[in-house]
Symmetry: C2
Subunit: 339 residues, 2 copies
């Protein structure tokens, strides 16, 4: 048995030294290149005491869009999937909805009629969102969202949505936090929804999630216990100009680093860059049709879709010194579960 033991011991040494090497590179899923270099340089310059670009720890605020920046957003936002998949339970409670559009259309879609999707417009989606996300207590919503997150699977990868986060961005979050940065999600998605998994999935606590937010109403149950009801009253549309406005409302400081992937993030990146000193503004470009998706300027198609990475945004990024991250070239690994 001795030789085997020796081999195991040797393997142990090899593994240890590999781990050490790996620990020295905080961004192992990134290929060497201008994007990785920009992150490493930014962290070095902002944390070098006495340097011209030093940022005191309390001002090290970094904000991240979520959909398409931290996890997969194509072909549909996970929260839209959540709302659609809540419809059967809603119809069970209120059977009269089964024959009323847009709820009947959603049922057709969930029964496999993919063409039904084309019948749903933005007004329909807002109606479905209001019906599935409001008029219930905060606790009821949290329990429903948590259950869905535990059970639902992305159709392409057959995995929970929370496993479809980008490993290179997880490394950026950890690298920044290890250097005294406070990381925030600033998402167009629902704040209450993202808060259900942000801590476990990204290490970002609920109080560091800024998102599209509706009001709540304080009231009392029959037994006198107080509770909050989710109201269909929009307080913050956390997209476009709403992102810097939301950052001011919820954080109260201008970020020094911001990450996005779409026109909805443009103002957040502008606002971040407009501060003095070293600033980092990065955009994730979806140009890897094989490992994930290719859309936006990577396709060469005209800018038709709102809320994605348009050619116009790409040109602005290049002109203003923002860094574009190519998923295809800058990331050697996209998901943690990859071999």
């Amino acid at each position: 048995m001795k030789p085997v033991r020796n081999i195991i011991a040797l393997l142990g040494i090899v593994l240890t030294s590999f781990t050490t090497t790996s620990a020295q590179d905080p961004l192992p899923s990134w290929n060497d290149g201008p994007a990785k270099q920009a992150i490493v340089d930014f962290v070095r310059t902002t944390t070098t005491t006495g340097g011209a670009n030093f940022v005191p720890p309390e001002e090290r605020i970094a904000t991240f869009d979520q959909d398409g920046t931290l996890w997969v957003e194509h072909p549909m936002y996970s929260q839209v999937m959540y709302c659609l998949e809540r419809v059967p339970a809603l119809v069970k409670e209120k059977p009269e909805l089964a024959k009323v559009a847009p709820f009947s259309t959603v049922l057709e879609l969930l029964h496999g009629d993919r063409a039904a999707m084309d019948k749903l417009n933005m007004d329909d989606l807002l109606k479905i969102a209001a019906a599935t996300l409001t008029g219930i207590s905060v606790e009821t919503f949290e329990a429903e969202a948590k259950q869905w997150l535990a059970e639902a699977k992305n159709p392409r990868w057959k995995k929970p949505y929370t496993e479809l986060t980008y490993q290179p961005m997880q490394e950026v979050l950890k690298f920044l936090r290890a250097n005294g940065f406070k990381t925030f999600i600033v998402t167009g998605g629902g704040q209450d929804f993202v808060r259900q998994y942000s801590e476990k999935t990204y290490g970002i606590p609920p109080e560091q999630v800024v998102g599209t937010a509706a009001g709540t109403k304080y009231g009392y149950a029959k037994d006198g216990q107080p509770f909050l009801t989710k109201e269909p009253k929009l307080l913050l549309n956390d997209n476009d100009a709403g992102k810097p406005e939301g950052i001011h409302l919820m954080i109260g400081r201008r970020p020094v680093a911001a990450f996005g992937n779409s026109t909805g993030d443009q103002q957040m990146l502008e606002y971040t860059r407009a501060g003095s000193g070293a600033r980092l503004a990065m955009l994730v470009l979806h140009d890897d049709a094989k490992r994930e998706y290719a859309y936006g300027p990577a396709t060469g198609l005209p800018d038709t879709k709102v809320g994605t990475f348009t050619q116009k945004l790409y040109d602005k990024a290049k002109k203003d010194g923002w860094i574009v991250i190519s998923m295809k070239n800058d990331w050697n690994k996209i998901f943690a579960f990859e071999e």
Copy 2:
């Protein structure tokens, strides 16, 4: 010289041992009694690993009202003083306001006519707040507020307002933080105003200040630089039911400990107590006319003023097991500058 050195060395030992003793009591400005005991017991039970009331570090959220709970609110909120004292500068920019009420009334008041105060009603104060707090960029407001805070003095103590914080409450903030709690201010005061000094004054960063909040509007200066303008559009009235609603919006978790001093804090304390496990709800009673002020139930007068500590609130506190802090009996020191 040797004897002197010995005495100094001896003094050094005495001072060191005094410091050590003092460090063992995290709440030296508190007299022994049920209030101090409640805080110490709460921290012990919620941080004892394996105990029935253990609270994981990420859920250790403690919220504090500010005016009257962390610093002096009587006879006028500091932020009201700020708005009134901004009026001369406002009139300098817009001279036509000098003859228009309520601005003319404020000028009379600032020129020593104390009776003018009685002419100002709530509508007037809202008008003055809108004129002094909105229609300007976030940066302009921050510069003006910071300057006022550096220069303005409380008329009774002749000290900057930020020195009029309660030393016993500063000790509670530090004690909780030393035990893994995240401390938040949840104030009826303006969020943007309190954020200008919260970090330096209380060790609470801007992103942990929840307050009455108005919207901002993102726009561009002539040179293309983006900026946020403070708008007269109320997003959150952080009083009464607005406190738990604001906590949900900005923090997204129910606190395990909450501190207040008025009817405006009642819902926050109810909401905190309604969670499961150990909960701490405390109210500061202003019953020390000599060292600070006596108002509310301490005076024996009927409940006439809204937003203070009413007899009704006192009775509810006693009935529901909230802890009432007597400034007179529970605090051996009120301000850090006391001898």
